[in-house]
């Protein structure tokens, strides 16, 4: 459960600030060794920030992700957090599969030896005992990486204030 939480928070932290959350990095022991999701921000249809706001608003609307991430969960039991996350996880997953097509950067089996064809540091990150000169021909695949093959967000309507991630709700009795 903790790992799932960390993964979700890391994804958004990297998406929006380009950094892992400090506590996650600490929890993993070594920030540099943490797998770095290779997703780039979605192609901006209007302004770079619009796509980010839009995706965040969708994740809040369909999965209530912002509510969850901004809630102080320290006081709740694992079971309580777990039952909320189950539904949240399902919804977030649906959003990811509906609006983005994610695929591994290297489609291999983690833990096996893998050759690296094009050693672009943005695509492949070498870790461990690297040679002092040149690039290694391969190594053990630790994380397949992720890349967004396709982003299919609805068109942005600039007439509306995109900074509103979720509207306030008022129930008329």
């Amino acid at each position: 459960m903790t790992r799932l939480l960390q993964a979700i928070r890391s994804f958004f932290s990297i998406l929006f600030s380009g950094r892992l959350p400090a506590d996650v990095a600490a929890a993993l022991g070594l920030a540099k060794a943490a797998p770095k999701p290779g997703t780039r921000p979605p192609e901006p249809p209007v302004r770079p920030v619009d796509g980010a706001l839009q995706l965040l608003a969708i994740l809040q609307r369909d999965a209530r992700l912002v509510d969850f991430l901004l809630e102080d969960v320290s006081g709740y039991s694992d079971e309580q957090v777990g039952s909320a996350v189950r539904s949240l996880h399902e919804q977030c997953r649906q959003v990811l599969t509906r609006y983005l097509r994610l695929s591994p950067v290297i489609d291999g089996v983690e833990g096996t030896y893998t050759k690296v064809e094009s050693p672009d540091p943005a695509r492949v990150k070498f870790i461990g005992n690297l040679p002092t000169k040149g690039t290694p021909a391969g190594g053990t695949l630790r994380h397949k990486g992720w890349r967004a093959e396709k982003i299919d967000l609805p068109p942005v309507d600039r007439r509306h204030d995109l900074s509103v991630i979720a509207p306030a709700e008022i129930e008329v009795e």
Partner: protein, 607 residues
């Protein structure tokens, strides 16, 4: 002009679907493939997406419902109403502007179906539309969506097949056609849903002639979101060729998957409230949806889990703190679903009739939730002489199917199919008849629209057609000339004007009885029907109208006055069943002049 495509439309109570096939046939052994059509619709404000089905939900937005410009469709920048998924979503939050289950209202004779009565709970001053208008909007959406997606093949140039429940009476069918006409449909033919499901099976099994034999009887059980529909199809032979005949259809039963999911949600709600947690109507709705998902998961083939969690996330911005957790257990599903809706009853157990008395003005939901009892009554219905012995019956008179074809979302669950089949087979065993076998259908969600498209091909001469004819017996009521007793209506007799099974493209004249119509004044005929009386020949007079005959909307005709107002013209009645299966009644004068009787749904309002 030869159409490019045949288009089958499933106009469902909870979902609409569309399938199509090329109308061009290269070889009689190789029919064109029937393809589903994904329906573009608003799924969120500002987001149009193609979805497999169009939810039959209509939302009549007010100024505060959606941001400006966010409900534009590719073919309509400012629609007056939202159709489909977004309507469903927003309707949960603002129920007073949501029109749902319009189709169930379309066949409800207790209300004026052409006057704006939906949404039922809408306050005075809020927009309302009629059930016919709601159906028009769904059909219109499908037409516009097709024209947008297929600009090369105009919808109006294609052959369109629209399905209706087999239990729809002549009035509801007429109103469905009227809605289609209002939506701009030019070439429409109606088809009964269970027949469409059977056509879908034929379409998937080109070798179907090897799978059934002469004398077989196929029971089609169609349990959708809102209605349950039964049909019997007999396999007969003519000139050495296998033929299919629809020999019986059931009464209209307003009972479906939605009722079952709500029963599960109510059960969980009770459990929560016993534990001190109260939920409100929004949360109940979320619970309803989650129970449906949990049920589907648990009943998936191969799932052996004992329970599935059901959670309702907290309201407000606190999510974890307010989360309510419960679990739907397999045992509870089996108890509520199977024992509540599919109990193992005997074939003599008949459904409980609705208690007389004051009823809330709403949909006439089935009083008895036990679908097995409704099935028993259906199989015990009066045998028809038109059956020509083609219906296998046991010693006690129970119709004994050899095969069962399941259709509708509820029957995707193997558990429910097995319970229905095993209950039926116990009955058959009691009649010393061999057990019925299931026919393997697939894609139970789209079978009806696919089957309708196949029927479109069959009508062009490229496939087998099920012979059916009129699915009920129809009567004209004649008030007896007895001295009036204060407080009691005059006794009614019923004259058979359309016998059960009267075939498409035929007509008959009832010369035995003349009616005197006054020129220039509307003449009204009381119109009655029975799904279970199948042996009344045309012209037969029922001296007493029993429980098995129900009254429909009256029919009306006005003879045009050409100067001689007040003149009485003697007419006889003539019944016509059109090629498209529509029942028409005509008044024919002695000199051959004819006037068509029209349904008057406005007259009949709930007492």
């Amino acid at each position: 002009m030869q159409p490019t495509y045949v288009i089958g439309i499933d106009l469902g109570t909870t979902n609409c679907g569309l399938a199509f096939a090329e109308a061009r046939v290269e070889s009689p052994h190789q029919l064109p493939t029937v393809l589903p059509f994904a329906v573009p619709q608003l799924v969120n404000p500002g987001e149009v997406r193609e979805e497999a089905l169009l939810p039959s939900a209509l939302f009549l937005p007010g100024p505060t419902d959606f941001p400006a410009g966010s409900i534009a469709l590719p073919w309509d920048p400012e629609p007056a109403a939202v159709t489909g998924q977004l309507a469903q979503k927003r309707g949960v939050e603002n129920t007073r502007r949501l029109v749902a289950s319009a189709k169930s209202w379309l066949c409800h004779a207790g209300v004026d179906r052409t006057s704006p009565i939906l949404p039922v709970g809408a306050p005075d001053g809020a927009p309302k539309i009629s059930p016919v208008e709601a159906s028009r909007r769904y059909l219109e959406h499908l037409r516009n969506a097709w024209n947008w997606a297929r600009p090369d093949a105009s919808f109006d140039a294609q052959n369109i097949l629209v399905t209706v429940p087999a239990s729809f009476d002549a009035v509801a069918r007429d109103l469905t056609l009227r809605a289609a006409g209002d939506a701009g449909y030019a070439n429409v033919v109606l088809l009964e849903e269970p027949q469409a499901a059977f056509y879908a099976w034929i379409e998937r099994h080109p070798d179907w002639r090897d799978r059934v034999r002469v004398g077989d009887l196929i029971l089609v059980v169609d349990i959708g979101g809102g209605t349950t529909d039964f049909t019997l199809i007999a396999v007969t032979e003519r000139d050495g060729e296998l033929q299919l005949e629809r020999v019986a259809v059931g009464e209209h039963i307003l009972l479906g998957g939605d009722n079952m999911d709500l029963a599960l949600a109510r059960f969980i709600e009770q459990q929560l409230s016993a534990g001190g947690r109260k939920i409100d109507s929004f949360q109940l709705h979320a619970l309803w949806q989650n129970c449906r998902l949990a049920k589907e998961r648990l009943l998936e083939d191969g799932n052996t889990a004992e329970e599935h969690p059901v959670t309702i996330l907290g309201k407000g911005s606190g999510l974890v703190g307010g989360t309510i957790k419960a679990a739907l257990r397999r045992g509870d599903i089996e108890r509520i679903l199977l024992d509540g809706f599919f109990p193992q009853t005997s074939s003599n157990d008949m459904p409980q009739r609705r208690r007389a008395g004051l009823q809330e003005l709403g949909l006439p939901y089935a009083a008895d939730a036990a679908i097995t009892r409704h099935l028993a009554r259906f199989l015990r219905q009066q045998a028809s002489s038109a059956e020509h012995g083609s219906v296998r019956r046991g010693p006690s008179g129970l119709a004994c199917p050899t095969h069962v074809l399941f259709n509708g979302g509820v029957l995707r669950a193997g558990l429910v199919r097995e319970r229905l089949l095993s209950t039926l087979n116990v009955w058959l065993d009691g009649e010393s008849m061999p057990a019925a076998r299931p026919l393997e259908g697939d894609d139970l969600m789209h079978a009806v629209s696919r089957g309708a498209a196949y029927y479109g091909l069959a009508r062009l001469g490229h496939g087998v057609r099920i012979r059916g004819g009129v699915s009920r017996t129809y009567y004209v009521g004649i008030e007896t000339a007895m001295p009036a007793v204060p407080g009691l209506p005059a006794p009614l007799k019923a004259l058979t004007v359309a016998p059960f099974g009267m075939e498409e493209g035929t007509e008959l004249r009832l010369t035995g009885r003349e009616f005197g119509l006054v020129v220039g004044e509307p003449a009204e005929f009381r119109f009655l029907t029975s799904a279970s009386r199948k042996d009344d020949p045309a012209g037969h007079l029922l001296d007493e109208v029993g429980d098995d005959v129900e009254e429909l909307s009256p029919m009306e005709v006005t003879l045009p006055s050409a100067g001689d107002a007040g003149e009485v013209v003697p007419v006889t009645l003539e019944t016509v069943v059109t090629e498209t299966g529509l029942l028409q009644l005509w008044c024919v004068a002695r000199d051959g002049r004819r006037w068509k009787l029209e349904f008057n749904v406005r007259e009949r309002v709930s007492p």
